[in-house]
Symmetry: D2
């Protein structure tokens, strides 16, 4: 069966399955989203692409942006980065303070909130104009100059960011935050507020599926070695404390966000993005997980 058919078939099969889950209501702006939105976009390294449903509608990518943050920080400071954040699965819920306290302020990985805040702190240290330079960096990876933050969402998120403030203050007391807390939090919330469509996400993640080379432009955007490492970290840490479940059921490196997006890659072959706002208890899109499980089962391709 061809990709096009597989996507259509699984989309139609999953579309009307009633799913349990709830919106990320703790961020007021995200609570307003239409819960029935459902979009899928798929893109091979060889140039095939196809979308279904709301794949051309912008949504808040939230934690998916942490992949770009990590990539930029790693390119800026190299393996020095691993002195300040580890690459191990978290083992506990995505905003837990427990491990942080036991492990002296070194977050388990760059995708839990604590880790992404450290990444933000690193970028604030090395960039002259973090917000401008970061969005420019994302635009280049995507090959899309129209991408931007939604500052309304950034503001909304910062207002309710007590858990994240708790994390950053704890890490500051443990010596792992170098800059002013408000400055870092401003950048962190802005970074997470990028809005993109499923199609834009597959385009930007096609550099990860294609060994660092943007398939459309043929330009080497990241080094092959870096690309592999990003994929490894996404595989192990990309789905909060559901990383094992995702590997078991789907078997692709990827990253989810509380806006309901999931983007994943089959290295060497394709990138795929699903968007459906209702989240399961672990904070991942319920229908997104279901779609990807059915999709990879039918396709009989995974990295394993």
């Amino acid at each position: 069966m061809q990709y096009k058919q597989v996507i259509e078939q699984v989309f139609n099969q999953v579309k009307d399955v009633p799913v349990y889950g709830k919106l990320a209501t703790y961020i007021p702006e995200l609570a307003k989203i239409d819960a029935t939105k459902f979009g899928v976009h798929f893109r091979t390294n060889k140039g095939f692409e196809g979308g279904q449903g709301d794949f051309e509608e912008k949504f808040s990518i939230q934690s998916i942006a942490k992949v770009y943050g990590l990539l930029m920080a790693y390119q800026e400071v190299g393996s020095e980065l691993w002195k300040r954040v580890d690459v191990e699965p978290s083992g506990t819920s995505y905003n837990s303070l427990i491990l942080l306290e036991l492990e002296n302020g070194i977050p388990r990985n760059p995708f839990i909130n604590a880790g992404a805040i450290v990444i933000a702190d690193v970028l604030v240290s090395v960039l002259d104009h973090p917000e401008e330079q970061f969005i420019e960096f994302v635009r280049q990876i995507c090959g899309n100059q129209t991408l931007d933050y939604d500052l309304q969402i950034a503001k909304s998120e910062k207002e309710v960011a007590n858990r994240n403030y708790s994390l950053i203050h704890l890490m500051k007391s443990q010596g792992n935050i170098r800059n002013d807390i408000e400055r870092v939090m401003d950048f962190y919330c802005t970074l997470c507020s990028i809005c993109m469509t499923c199609a834009e996400l597959t385009e930007s993640f096609s550099v990860f599926s294609n060994g660092g080379i943007h398939p459309r432009t043929g330009k080497m955007v990241i080094k092959a070695n870096t690309c592999k490492r990003m994929n490894a970290i996404m595989q192990l840490c990309g789905f909060y404390d559901e990383a094992g479940e995702f590997a078991y059921r789907v078997g692709l490196p990827g990253k989810s966000g509380v806006g309901g997006g999931i983007v994943a890659v089959q290295p060497g072959v394709y990138s795929i993005c699903v968007w459906s706002p209702l989240l399961n208890k672990k904070g991942n899109s319920t229908k997104g997980m279901l779609f990807l499980e059915e999709f990879t089962s039918l396709l009989q391709e995974s990295i394993f």
Copy 2:
């Protein structure tokens, strides 16, 4: 460069690197091993194979046997298994009781000790003669009728198994052990006492690299779908709380044992085994990790 050359080159490069680490002295029989042993064996799905150093010497595979245990239990009871053990990375040291207590006796995954003990309990429930049937199962996967337990090691391990007794009693009190504790512990320690060479390990793991089909016999040993799932669990949980580090540096699904063995697979391509008894703090072979990192770097192949 060809596989043969890569292996030779990396073997020679790593052979005399002084490594920090210590033997698994807590098991008296393992403490007797010559710490300088170093063997490597490599086997592609297409039939190439090559070894270096002590690759034909038997060693205690220890936790690597948990992969066979999981496979057998999954084939016996199917996805019912996941009611009694999860598939998430552990996030803490391999013998920790903390998560077990917080999570009502459901071990994080089948490769931490608690999880492997539950697997042993499942097999004791469903098999008439667990020891005999299990070794026969392993022999079939390996295509090697000479494989056997080292009962001296099993006995040695059981005598010092207080941590494991603590785990099994805790899970018994939480309702997740169904059989007599001594019976399960006997089987668990026996299961971990299998001795194999690097070459035997790559042969048995070639079913995982080859989608469930034994490359030499062409026989379907496990279903393709099961094979992928085993690889996914090895990727996420195969290296205790160093799973992320291994994925980042090596990028292959695999499993290590405190006997100093590490076996890994590149799905679709090859299986590889390294043996060097000195362990790092996380319980993985120091030189084994180093070899695999250099090997995959030079080969420029990984699942990512």
Copy 3:
């Protein structure tokens, strides 16, 4: 108001209050007890005594016996004891393994199960015939040669002692158990199986209310200094993770058991014992707590 009146009044007031709670059903023999039993006994240093309800009926004192165990171990080995068990409140439920794992096998205090098991291990080390010598020790403190174990209960408890086996194996692996595990567990379960009446308990605890001197015989049973220390440990650690609640509401050093007994002392003045088998969530007698709160409120006496 006189003691006699206070006791009668509070007894009648509390007797028919419906209380929530449940029997310690995890020990089969304890699950058979009549849940409506209710007895109180009170005894001043000056010789007044009075009882209400089922105060002359024997019941399983369970953890109250840990006070005698601690006392005997302390008299045998002195402050060396504190190298193996601490004197801090536990902060978590009475059978938690978490702190034990984090704190290298040194139990928080001698009254949580882990601590009492260490005490049992110490006594097994220093006594030639632990069971015989321990019950003789208790008989002397009580001035009552008829006291004895209920071996039926000891056996019943040992059969379901998985949590305690988990604790002792963990501590064995951490180096804090010196003797054979079965030997220590036999003694521990026997120690906890003593049966006494409320009146016998106030008599034995009157040495703690009277500075170490048995009020009836005038004999110095324990040193004044030791007596104070036992009272201090009972105050801080005698009620599992409800020690603060008990101090706040009742304000006396004491000890409870899952048989439903609570015994407490007002140093210099009196000892009191209440028995009612239904337990609250923390494992303390619901009606016993209520009685003592009302009693000390009406009496307007506490150590504070």
Copy 4:
């Protein structure tokens, strides 16, 4: 031996004992204190008083002020207070976030930092001018209109208060902080900045030793029942995670502060205060602990 002699003897005995310990250097202003300061003051309910060393020198009482804070909050809102803070010993270090996360933002007791911050939040809610009214409240208890905050210390503390900010943000996210975070932190840091002498502290704590009646004025300052409860909480929770050690060695309700002060009471008899700035690992004055242990041993009086 008379009180006067006992105090002199123990003071001289302890004065030149070299003690291990360090200043509370994390608060810059406290790091400037002369580490050799040593003062003691003692005051009986019957009117005897005596001091040694630097007992008339002001020092930062820090956490001792939490006793006044708790008392004021309890008098304002009564037992409603216990819905927002518990009265159990903490079981872990005084600034741990772990229990707070596990226990849904209800601090273990009012004397750990998290609990005292909740108390501050309660007072900000019920008082019109928290700072003014609180210092006035303390002045009344002490019978001393000259007492005041050291705003330099308050400012110094707030600047380095990342751990406390982490706690308050966590509790805010858990719904247990009602007011603006900066407002509460301002008040909390101010509250802890009160400076007093040993003699002033024994005077204010004599209401706790005397059942709520100020011994000098004969005025009922707090209700007898409230007094007992404050003493009970001080006994169980007054010394961070060294409460058991203090009860065992000293046997009096009390409270310590990182300024090096310890104040304690023998209910019905006396209050005592020791000041020596070097702290042990648990955050309590090393020499203060030693003095009180020797003092109560020689006096042979304790609540037990």
